[in-house]
């Protein structure tokens, strides 16, 4: 252990091995994923985000919503996500292929939003909730949001959907 080059080479090998084994292999496996039809000849999913939703994603990031909300539905048997209605199936890698920045999140202080668009309130109700959350809900009031940013954020939240069949996760009929 006196040889500096040996230590540096060993450390480099351990770091490179883990990076290659995890990240590069994941890139090989997932990097070419694209949209796919839910049934032969059907429309491709995931759908492209509307322009307003893309602006809303920036607001979502800007406010730091990812600190409290995840966007990933775990499979049945791995938590109660599906049973509690967060999604109709588990999230799969293909669901995120159009997202310029995937926002899986790490903490759930509020509900998961991966499939929020499928169960969301109306635009008006959602905008009102963001300004003045219902009592008993531990959500900060975003009264400072102007109409433009609020509309964009609502459009983004409404656009979050994973309620289609995917080759890796078929919906049960």
């Amino acid at each position: 252990m006196k040889n500096l080059n040996l230590i540096l080479a060993g450390v480099f090998f351990t770091v490179a091995a883990a990076w290659s084994g995890l990240v590069i292999t994941a890139q090989v496996q997932l990097g070419s994923l694209g949209r796919a039809p839910s049934e032969e000849g059907g429309p491709l999913f995931p759908s492209r985000e509307p322009g307003l939703a893309i602006q809303g994603r920036a607001v979502y990031l800007d406010l730091g919503c990812v600190a409290c909300h995840t966007q990933q539905v775990r499979p049945a048997g791995q938590g109660s996500d599906i049973a509690r209605g967060y999604g109709v199936r588990a999230s799969v890698a293909r669901d995120y292929v159009l997202q310029s920045q995937v926002l899986l999140g790490q903490r759930r202080l509020g509900p998961d939003l991966a499939n929020y668009g499928a169960r969301a309130k109306s635009e008006v109700e959602l905008a009102a909730f963001l300004r003045t959350p219902a009592s008993g809900v531990n959500h900060p009031p975003y009264a400072f949001l102007d109409a433009e940013r609020s509309t964009a954020l609502v459009a983004y939240l409404k656009s979050l959907r994973q309620d289609y069949s995917s080759p890796e996760a078929k919906l049960k009929q």
Partner: protein, 480 residues
């Protein structure tokens, strides 16, 4: 130098035989060390204040809620970034550098280069934190500073930290010890990890969930290879040094070192169990997390067997430095044990997305790393400044507030996460109901944040009082 004080009164001391004399090795370090250290302490106080605001916002969401500047997401991200990049990195620049120069008896003559790196680091971080408050916030924790900050941080790191490797390569004494391996490994691995993390997450993100995996890999390496390895480096130095006896079972240390580095990076997918990544990768993460217990056991054998003979624990309690370092060592073992046990699928199904993971991370970043860095500061600062710590009461206050804060914070995160996880296993319970049922743990988190702030202000007052009262010691005369 021994800091032991049989009365139990913690009190750092300057070097014996002349407070105004520094060894040649230490004379070259004084400038860069104090630059890094003062920056670190200032960031620590800022991070504590932000963490307190974030903690209060968890049970009072409308607190400071009138503007976008202080949303929970922004404040929490800024608190974490200032703690990790402001306190953790600066303090490690200082302590690792000092360790390597001491162990290698290396006379450092280009302190201005390291200081320059430190200044660049702190300026870039300040800019990044301001941008976070302005809403330029990324979606990945610890890679959420604006991406233009990243390259500056890497360059600054090379200037500030790579001297540790130089001191080993050019050490005249040929001295070789476990602390040096860990510092070299950490210092060499971090820039590679930081560069790859930034490239794959911020600059050229790949399709879908690959960036999420790259992010998990980055965070695990940052936590284990930089923070974890540096913690072990200090512990390997201070325990035998202050106890005045060789490390027990030292022949195991190389095995601990290599297994630590071998398994650390592979544990990343365990953080994404059940997520939209391939299942085989998740299994690899679980296996690596379980295997990571091997180095934890080995370093535990080294440390605990050294501390357990000839009244070692008692002597550790009577030494300010070793009191902090011992807490750090215990927390490292707890972190390793929890990471192994709770990385399995059954536990993850219940505990994922709760505060449990935060509690585990606090054991490493605060319990192990920060407490060890505090201990190192109590050892090094008196030597470099030639002064006594101004107030023994503040030292006491620092230790007890930090220890109590750590205990409350970790218990609140782990117990709160456990309770929330089990409540949410029932689909009929909403997140709001689970939050209300566990409000006591959230409140405890705020109390812990307050205790941390008190501890850090006490530490800062004492440290700055000592630095300001110190003269510029001369370097002639005192041999190493």
């Amino acid at each position: 130098m021994s800091q032991e004080n049989r009365t139990g009164r913690p009190q750092g001391r300057p070097p014996e035989g002349g407070a105004s004399r520094l060894s040649r090795t230490e004379a070259g370090l004084r400038g860069p060390f104090l630059c890094f250290f003062t920056s670190a302490v200032l960031w620590l106080v800022v991070a504590s204040l932000l963490a307190l605001i974030a903690a209060v916002k968890l049970h009072r969401p409308d607190f400071l809620g009138a503007c976008a500047l202080t949303t929970y997401g922004r404040v929490a991200a800024a608190a974490q970034d200032t703690f990790v990049y402001g306190w953790g990195f600066n303090a490690l620049f200082a302590v690792n550098f000092w360790l390597m120069a001491q162990l290698g008896r290396f006379e450092f003559r280009n302190g201005w280069l390291a200081t320059l790196g430190g200044l660049a680091w702190n300026l870039a971080l300040t800019y990044g934190v301001v941008q976070v408050f302005r809403g330029e916030l990324g979606g990945f924790a610890l890679l959420d500073l604006p991406r233009e900050v990243g390259p500056v941080l890497i360059l600054a790191f090379l200037f500030a930290a790579l001297w540790s490797v130089v001191t080993y390569a050019r050490r005249p004494s040929g001295h070789n010890f476990a602390s040096q391996w860990y510092v070299i490994g950490a210092t060499f691995a971090l820039p590679i990890v930081f560069l790859l993390g930034q490239l794959m997450v911020q600059w050229f993100p790949s399709v879908g969930t690959v960036p999420a995996l790259a992010h998990a890999w980055f965070v695990q390496n940052l936590m284990l290879l930089w923070f974890g390895a540096s913690t072990l480096a200090s512990a390997y130095y201070f325990i035998p040094k202050i106890l005045g006896r060789p490390l027990s079972h030292y022949y195991l240390a190389p095995v601990g070192f290599w297994t630590f580095f071998l398994f650390a990076g592979w544990t990343a997918p365990a953080a994404l169990l059940g997520g939209p990544i391939p299942i085989w990768l998740q299994s690899v993460g679980v296996v690596a997390s379980v295997m990571s217990i091997v180095p934890v056991i080995i370093v535990g054998i080294n440390f605990y067997s050294t501390l357990s003979v000839d009244g070692g624990w008692s002597r550790a309690w009577n030494s300010t430095t070793l009191r902090f370092v011992s807490v750090g060592v215990v927390c490292f073992s707890l972190f390793g044990g929890l990471s192994t046990v709770f990385s399995t699928r059954d536990f993850s199904a219940v505990l994922a997305f709760t505060s449990f993971a935060q509690g585990q991370q606090q054991l490493l970043t605060y319990g192990a790393l920060t407490m060890t860095l505090f201990g190192a500061s109590y050892f090094v600062l008196p030597r470099l400044t030639g002064s006594l710590w101004p107030s023994a009461k503040l030292v006491h206050l620092h230790f007890w507030a930090a220890s109590l804060g750590l205990l409350v914070a970790v218990v609140a995160s782990l117990a709160g996460g456990w309770q929330v996880g089990h409540l949410l296993a029932d689909p009929a319970v909403t997140t709001a109901q689970a939050g209300a049922a566990t409000a006591v743990w959230t409140l405890a988190g705020s109390i812990a944040a307050m205790l941390f702030l008190v501890a850090h202000v006490a530490f800062a007052l004492n440290a700055f009082g000592m630095i300001l009262a110190s003269s510029s010691p001369t370097s002639e005369g005192r041999p190493d």
